[in-house]
Symmetry: C2
Subunit: 229 residues, 2 copies
């Protein structure tokens, strides 16, 4: 049982020199950016040619994305962009309801003043913004940054995954939001940033929980986003 220690830095997010990582990064960006739709087939050879590499690193990239939950692999059959049923999407939101309050609670006391300034700026940018892609990016940045100081690596990873796998449906949902719904979102964000500025963890938790829950309920009213295609 000679247990040799791991290198210190278990997480290396910076682009590595490994082709598979680069391909995975590009693919991830394509999926999150909506350029690849859920259910769409991914073929190894096409990707390989596209990247000027052999199929080998592509296969590894697909495995990587599978562990991110972004791609579904089936033996001897192929790879598809993961898709969620309405039930699964609702489930993702239920999990977020239970875990993100934990994250914000752990994070708030450790956020720097500078980070809170950035968060405030993001909320303001969100109010002025009208573009859907920009909304998705800013909203994601705002929430994930608000959790970023939390020292809880495992929860963070789970939440990142859920944000990734639900990204496509948030986009579709955002497109459907009417002005009333946008107003509500704006207010929720204002309440949340206010609580964060005052470092009122309890209030932040409550507001966040309501924010996610309301979104889940709203999503339940749009089953058309999940029709099998």
């Amino acid at each position: 049982m000679s247990a040799q220690g791991l290198p210190q830095n278990q997480r290396i997010d910076k682009a590595s020199t490994v082709a598979a990582d680069k391909i995975a990064g590009q693919l991830r960006s394509d999926i999150l950016g909506g350029r690849l739709a859920p259910g769409e087939r991914i073929m190894q050879e096409v990707l390989a040619e596209q990247f000027g590499a052999s199929r080998m690193p592509v296969r590894e990239a697909l495995r990587i994305l599978q562990s991110d939950g972004l791609v579904t692999l089936i033996s001897n059959s192929g790879a598809w962009v993961s898709k969620l049923s309405m039930a699964e999407c609702a489930e993702a939101y239920e999990i977020r309801e239970r875990l993100e309050p934990l994250l914000i609670r752990e994070s708030i006391p450790l956020l720097s003043d500078h980070e809170i300034d950035v968060l405030t700026g993001l909320v303001e940018a969100l109010e002025e913004n009208t573009d859907v892609e920009m909304f998705l990016r800013l909203d994601r940045q705002f929430h994930l940054l608000s959790y970023s100081a939390a020292p809880t690596a495992i929860v963070s990873e789970i939440i990142h995954r859920l944000w990734n796998t639900t990204q496509h449906y948030r986009r579709a949902f955002t497109l459907l939001m009417n002005s009333e719904r946008r107003q509500i979102t704006t207010y929720e964000h204002r309440l949340l940033i206010d609580a964060i500025q005052r470092r009122d963890t309890d209030e932040a938790e409550r507001t966040l929980l309501g924010h996610i829950r309301r979104t889940r309920h709203e999503l339940g009213r749009h089953p058309e986003l999940f029709i099998a295609s």
Copy 2:
């Protein structure tokens, strides 16, 4: 954006004909069974020879186990059996506290009478058992079976992952349990199976939460399980 549908069965748990799956299965069993310790190095060539295969399926197997959280891969460096710090282990229990009550609540109404009989049998077997490996197996079977009827695939997967990654520490912890502690566990299991038999979801949730929380607190008193080796 021609989204072609995926095959119906996204999950194929039965042993496939694919070598990588078989290797992954064996490795998983080795890790969960304690024959491979956290932090231990895994070398592709050794495994390949051991299975009479080339390094290629081994690499795929390692990716699979990475998505299970059992293995940590580092580019251009190698693979290690995942290990947890005490903080991460405590975090895993905090997540379980928040998600497993959800699972048991969703599961209980859908459990068949037969499954409840099996659960009852497992509790009895646990009380009579004295062997550590058997305890781990029975305890795991009991809890996971009690959740098995829950239609929540995502939560289930998260919980399975957490049980996997904490397995080694549960083993070490189980070895340290004194008779008083074992008594408490027995009572908790009895309360839980009683609530399940009566299909009392609220009581089951409460009992389960306490069960996990007490274990987490108890674990916090044994930092020696996490010394860097």
